[in-house]
């Protein structure tokens, strides 16, 4: 059926206008910003063009700290959360009673406000003048000595950040893996049963290969998500992440843009592009590994 083309475009105009102004134009603009040296926010003028912004960012100790924090966060949380989610999903799909209740409970963190619940985690882990906090109390039950997880040593802060990140990302992973496990055809398991295949072998030879595309999907989205970590850190350590030494790359971008340390969109752009390049390379590497290893 032929439609009047003008009419068709009329339907598309709102979407195109909004995407043009707030997605396409900024995408071009961010590259331009990143090459404009000495950009002044007030007069909107710049002194020259070149790679100085990138070099500044890469030599900024705050950026290097943020990069280090982000990398540690990625390396710890992606494998741990994926593995844990796999374990829990396998458990979930092997039971019948209470399955639905567990599923509903597990998904709850997805709908909660990261900032709000982060405060609860802060209170659980924080050590104040009045009290050592609940987690420290538990550590003491087992004979350990208490430590301030929020204002204390680096590894303690990193531990809370990783823990909270995993708590936040688990719902999505469990959901995806549970539905992937449910979609594996029962025929395969029946055949394995008749052949007397052991549970472990069934898992390694049937279940794992069948759900491997979804695991890779989770690894990739996990990498992307963890590289963009920011809100979890703010929730736990407050907005001044640099002084807490817990900044992330995204946090660095925003700090450069706005707030007490802000007003430098050029540095922010350079940092954002560096982040984008890192994420893009990791995703490409993942996809290459995937092509080699995933059977389906």
């Amino acid at each position: 059926m032929k439609t009047n083309p003008a009419k068709a475009w009329l339907y598309l105009i709102p979407a195109i206008v909004f995407l043009g102004i707030f997605m396409v134009y900024p995408l071009v603009d961010v590259f331009i910003y990143s090459f404009e040296e000495g950009y002044n926010f007030a007069s909107q003028s710049y002194t020259g063009t070149g790679l100085f912004n990138y070099s500044y960012v890469l030599h900024d100790p705050y950026f290097l700290q943020a990069l280090k924090n982000t990398l540690i966060l990625v390396v710890i949380t992606v494998p741990l959360s994926t593995g844990l989610a796999l374990l829990i999903s396998l458990g979930l799909s092997s039971i019948k009673p209470l399955k639905h209740v567990f599923q509903t409970v597990y998904f709850l963190p997805y709908v909660t406000n990261t900032l709000a619940v982060g405060l609860v985690f802060m209170i659980l882990f924080k050590k104040t003048a009045y009290t050592d906090g609940l987690i420290n109390m538990m550590i003491q039950w087992f004979g350990g000595s208490s430590v301030d997880f929020i204002d204390g040593p680096y590894w303690a802060k990193m531990f809370v950040l990783c823990f909270y990140t995993i708590w936040i990302v688990m719902p999505f992973k469990v959901l995806i893996l549970t539905s992937a496990l449910a979609s594996v055809k029962q025929d395969y398991y029946n055949a394995a049963k008749i052949d007397g295949t052991s549970t472990w072998r069934t898992f390694a030879r049937i279940t794992l290969p069948m759900i491997s595309p979804m695991i890779f999907y989770l690894v990739i989205t996990g990498f992307i998500g963890a590289f963009k970590a920011y809100q979890d850190a703010v929730a736990l350590f407050g907005t001044d992440l640099n002084s807490a030494g817990m900044n992330t790359i995204v946090g660095y971008v925003y700090d450069m843009l706005y707030g007490d340390s802000g007003g430098y969109p050029s540095y922010a752009s350079a940092a954002a592009i560096i982040l984008f390049v890192i994420v893009l390379s990791i995703t490409t590497i993942n996809l290459m590994i995937r092509r080699k290893n995933v059977q389906y």
Binding site: A8, A15, L27, V30, A116, Y130, F172, T239, P265, L275
Partner: protein, 291 residues
Amino acid sequence: MKLNSELSSAAKHVKTRKTVLRILTYIMLSVWGIVVLFPFYWMILTSVKSYGSYNAEHIPSFIATNPTLQNYKDAFTSVPLAKYFLNTTIFTLITTACMLLVIIFAAYAFARLQFRGKNLVFTLFLALMMIPNELVIITNFVTISNLGLRNTFTGLILPSITSVFYIYLLKENFELIPDELYKAAKVDGTSDLKYLFKVMVPICRPTIVTVVILKVIECWNSYVWPRLITDDQNYFLVSNGIQEIRENGFGRENIPAMMAAVVVISVPLIILYLIFHKQIMEGVSRGGTKG
């Protein structure tokens, strides 16, 4: 005879192993359930402890001996929590309504209308899904600042009105509606617009409900953009409000009042989740990601 008894003992062995495995599974699942629920328990518990009794607890107590609602009163009186709440509600409603209109029109054009360049435009739209928000937010901040829209609802709302993913989701759904229906409507002299809102939208209601809920969750929890664009407390959303409360609100030590605010902020979404958990989980597994 001997073979029979051997078989039955082997079967018994397998059965005990299975039972043990089952028990271990339930233990593991319960442990994770507790890990998930405990922060919620702790936030409600702390919110009903009185300021005095909370600070007197050197060792945190798992129950509140004298539960009080005073903290909830404080949360609404000593910080503008009601204002944050109202702002977030306005922001969420307007954003979701505008987005719905934009995506319904776009999805309709892609699904039903024939025009030159359709496939090209649609491919370009899909390509935009890969652009991370962090990359475009810098210019958007500058754009909105230059337009003088900081600390306005317009500034808050404008950049989040379109979502390519939801256009895609709705388009797929619209395409499932048979062409015959459209032709019949045309014969009856129904206009395109009327057909869209009287036939297609009602048929695709489940998808639209899912999109609305996911968008509401996203709006309710949005933090980064509101933080960049507002520094006037009168325009704070709940996420920024809670951060403000944490840093300057009740005084750092009034944890119970802070927790009351956290409970108030979390409740609307938890209610939404309990009602719509099926749609939410289905929608998210169809391609949503956190953040």
